[in-house]
Amino acid sequence: MLGMLYIVAIINGRTNMSNLSFQEKSTWGTLVALLIIGTLYSNAAWQLWQRDVLVSEALFGLLIGYTVLLVIVLVAYHVLIVVVSGSEAEDERDRLIEWRAGYIGGIVLAFGVFTVIGHILIGGWLGDPLFLSPVGIANALLLAMLVASVAELALKLVYYRRGI
């Protein structure tokens, strides 16, 4: 918690966070948390996969653990930015940015899901073990969700900075 406060203080000092709206600060934090925890999860899942022990129970445990970690980090971060710079209600610009970024994020997610479906079909035909395993398919779908969320959050930041 103190470490996060320190990070917020550094960002506050270096980027003049008072020029960012609450939603923009929230987007930055969510993006960074998602990238870090997504990377940690992927690394853990990959190591289990290489040791051939990434079974459904292990995947379930990893998912629960990293999801709880993500929720705790996001709640702590949002409490911190409210304490440091106050909260702000969403306005029409925030809603427009959210809608446009969400629309593109949805397209990215659909592309990812159809890519996974394509790989399942091709894997099924070619006998690729990754895409014949439920755990492999689940991880591929999780990756598609992660990429779509990162794309959506990154686009929101672009719209906030560049304009919409």
Binding site: N19, E92, R93, R162, G163
Partner: protein, 68 residues
Amino acid sequence: MPVNISNRVRDLRYEHGQMTQQALAEAVGVSRQTIIAIESGKYSPSLEVALKIARAFDRSVESIFELH
């Protein structure tokens, strides 16, 4: 995304006793960052917000916003 609508919001704030962006934002019901985005041409407000800005300055919308 650049828009083809210019506005005189910044000038009018100064003409109205150096009204701050925060004061205008509160009068209009948006965030200060949205006022900054409107002034710099990075965001075109909805008709509702444009009318509220016009009311805050006691002007018509056309005298504040101009379509190019």
